[in-house]
């Protein structure tokens, strides 16, 4: 009996440790971009604008600029923020999951690493969503499908230009308003 309980506990501990170690990697995904930071950002922005489903750009942040302004150095990081009221509306209207507003707007991060290459990082909406029940799960699965379209880098398309946010106002999260998220 002791052996069975012991093995069971050991199994739980092992699974827990394994899950804990893998969780970070599963919650987010990272892709290599064939383009530089600016061009990757511009292509994502234009993909978002072309995605339909109510998606619009709600900001563009540059956390590395804040580090530089503070006297330090950081490799380039730019965060594209996008929102779709079609998806955010139902979540914001449901008290039990309204706290998920902290994940809004949807962010896609574009950054350079020490290998000099540009990467795209995003939240794994498809995995996170079902943890919060069927409403959020359903919405987040659609978000995940759209997100996959945002990061398609098609070299046959001409280089678009970055869309710099207009002066902050409304609900743009400090990076320029427009989407209402």
């Amino acid at each position: 009996m002791l052996k069975i309980v012991g093995s069971f506990v050991l199994g739980i501990v092992f699974t827990g440790v394994l899950g804990w170690n893998m969780m970070g990697g599963m919650m987010f995904h990272e892709h290599l971009s064939p383009f530089g930071v600016e061009e990757t950002v511009a292509r994502i922005q234009h993909n978002i604008e072309a995605a339909g489903n109510g998606w619009s750009l709600s900001g563009l942040r540059n956390p590395a600029a804040a580090v530089k302004a503070d006297g330090g150095n950081a490799l380039p990081v730019m965060m594209v923020e996008a929102c779709s009221t079609k998806y955010s509306g139902p979540i914001l209207n449901e008290d039990s999951v309204r706290f998920l507003s902290i994940l809004m707007p949807c962010k896609i991060s574009v950054y350079k690493k020490n290998d000099g290459k540009t990467y795209i990082g995003a939240m794994n909406a498809g995995l996170l969503g079902p943890m919060f029940g069927p409403l959020v799960g359903d919405i987040m699965s659609k978000v995940a499908a759209d997100q996959a379209k945002f990061i398609i880098m098609d070299p046959s398309k001409p280089t678009p230009q970055i869309i710099y946010p207009k002066a902050a106002g409304g609900g743009g999260g400090g990076g320029g308003g427009g989407s209402g998220c």
Binding site: G59, N62, A66, P76, L100, K112, D115, Y164, P165
Partner: protein, 547 residues
């Protein structure tokens, strides 16, 4: 569910932290317009107020007239200048007798000066250089004192005027409708002083045809840099001028890319003690054991240049040009006009009819190589590699020669014309002198044949009439834009399988060169040792209790 909440709380925390500190990515905000208190009158650091000199109280009509006045006191200045590369545009490399200098080298930016001198000589310290072969290098009054010693910022030498500033108001660029004002020579001459980041930068920040184009670690952001960009030149801190490190003797300025110091001597330079080493090296001030708190780092200084760790990226304030493809130049709009296509940032062109395609990049992670200070150039007449990449310059260096350190480099890649028969690089005649009509200039007529023929004739090179474009690369050692020490590379940025120095050969680097099997054996040995100690200790305890 609890894990999910913890995760969300962490995400929210991260999100809040980021949102609280970072500005939006919009254009940089203007500095606060707080009312500044009236600045106290500044005392001249120089012992001479040039505005009081009668020699300079003249209505100068030309640059040479100003120089004549300067030389009436500074009698040896022009003679000193005449011996420098800044004047001769020529230097013979004693290692291999290659004739270098702007008169002889070819690069993969605007390529070369031959046939383009009237344009290029806006960055020559002389007046009237229309042709580098026929220019009077013995003339003292042709030395341009003001280009280095102007303190007003008003002295401008426009391209196309053969090294002269403009002496009358002119439309510049021609046809633009913009007026370039004549320089006020008396005012500028009476305000001369020491060289500054502005004066050196007027040429060196704009090399290759524009701001931040050529060097990667030198651009106009260094006129007034913040600490993050360069700890030495930090305008609110140490505020070094270029000459603080490039300490000049008799107008000869040390620290050239033709003669880089791969491995500087160990000891810091001392006042009063003769030292023939390069004063523009890190070691000349810091020595080779500068890490007081982290002694272990000093064991790296024998193999690694200071810049490798302390210039983690270059072009940190604005993008630098990284590639240039001349082969696509000459495409015009349907109505036959020059066209420009902006890149993704909207701040630079990715295509310009007169130059071809470019790419720009900011915060560039350098490439790394062993460098011992020796350099070999591919010059006009030298064969190119038509099957691969032609190296415009190649720095020597190896882990075993005792003269090398690992250096960070900007490697600039491009495509440029070469002769299909002679298999050597060609110089296109691009720029035309101000107000001149010249059908052979590529920037005027977009005809490669005529441009290459004129360029070859000016350079004294044969041209078969058949040409193509060859891939080239050119290396630029990175040495400016020294970051604060907190931003130096960390151990794991190099000591990793795919770290910064992954391509460096000939030196063992822990972790990068780790052997998986050896590691397993090591860990097993460590585990066996631990097990042995525990078993031994346990047995002794057990047996001790047992009596």
């Amino acid at each position: 569910m609890r894990i999910t909440h913890i995760l969300l709380a962490a995400l929210a925390g991260l999100s809040l932290a980021a949102g609280a500190s970072e500005p939006p990515a919009a254009a940089p905000a203007a500095p606060a317009a707080a009312a500044a208190p009236a600045a106290p009158a500044k005392m001249l650091s120089s012992t001479a107020d040039h505005s009081k000199f009668k020699e300079l109280q003249q209505s100068f009509k030309s640059g040479p007239e100003v120089t004549k006045a300067c030389l009436s006191c500074h009698t040896e200045a022009a003679k000193q200048i005449h011996k420098t590369k800044h004047w001769t545009w020529e230097w013979v490399n004693p290692e291999n007798n290659q004739k270098l200098g702007k008169k002889n080298v070819i690069n993969n930016f605007c390529t070369a000066t031959a046939s383009n001198e009237k344009f290029c000589s806006s960055c020559h310290v002389g007046y009237g250089m229309e042709n580098a072969k026929t220019f009077d290098y013995t003339s003292e009054t042709n030395v341009d004192c003001l280009v280095c010693h102007d303190t007003t910022g008003a002295y401008k030498k426009l391209p196309g005027l053969a090294g002269h500033p403009t002496y009358k108001d002119i439309e510049f660029p021609p046809g633009s409708g913009k007026i370039a004002k004549a320089v006020d020579l008396p005012k500028i001459a009476q305000a001369v002083g020491k060289t500054s980041r502005d004066t050196c930068g007027a040429c060196h920040f704009f090399g290759g045809g524009g701001d931040a184009v050529k060097h990667g670690d030198l651009d106009s952001s260094l006129k007034k840099p913040a600490k993050y960009l360069d700890v030495h030149m930090d305008a609110k801190g140490l505020n070094f001028s270029c000459a603080t490190c490039h300490a000049t003797q008799g107008h000869n300025i040390p620290g050239s890319r033709y003669t880089p110091t791969g491995k500087a001597e160990d000891a810091a330079h001392m006042r009063g003690k003769e030292n023939k080493g390069n004063p523009a090296s890190c070691q000349s001030c810091h020595g080779s054991a500068p890490h007081k708190a982290k002694e272990r780092l000093n064991s790296h200084t024998d193999k690694i240049a200071c810049q490798t760790c302390h210039v983690p990226q270059f072009a940190r304030a604005q993008p630098t040009k990284m590639t240039w493809d001349w082969s696509t130049a000459g495409k015009l709009t349907p109505d036959g006009k020059r066209m420009k296509i902006p890149d993704a940032s909207g701040h630079h062109d990715k295509y310009d009819s007169i130059k071809g395609n470019f790419t720009y990049e900011s915060d560039v992670v350098p490439e790394y190589a062993w460098l011992n200070g020796k350099v070999k150039y591919t010059l006009l007449g030298d064969p190119v590699n038509t099957q691969g990449v032609t190296k415009i310059n190649e720095y020597g260096g190896s882990p075993t020669d005792g003269q090398s350190r690992i250096w960070p480099l900007k490697v600039f890649r491009g495509k440029q014309p070469y002769d299909l028969e002679t298999k050597s690089l060609l110089v296109p005649h691009t720029a035309v002198g101000y107000g001149e009509k010249d059908d052979s200039g590529f920037w005027a007529n977009y005809k490669w044949d005529a441009a290459l023929k004129a360029g070859a004739a000016a350079a004294g090179q044969p041209f078969s009439g058949k040409f193509d474009f060859v891939s080239t690369e050119m290396s630029w050692p990175i040495t400016h834009m020294v970051a604060p020490k907190a931003d130096a590379l960390t151990c794991t940025q190099c000591h990793a399988k795919n770290g910064r120095l992954a391509s460096i050969k000939g030196v063992y680097m822990p972790r990068r060169d780790a052997n998986g099997m050896l590691d397993i054996i090591g860990w097993l040995l460590a585990a066996a040792t631990l097990a042995g100690v525990l078993i031994h200790g346990g047995l002794r305890t057990y047996l001790g209790r047992k009596g």
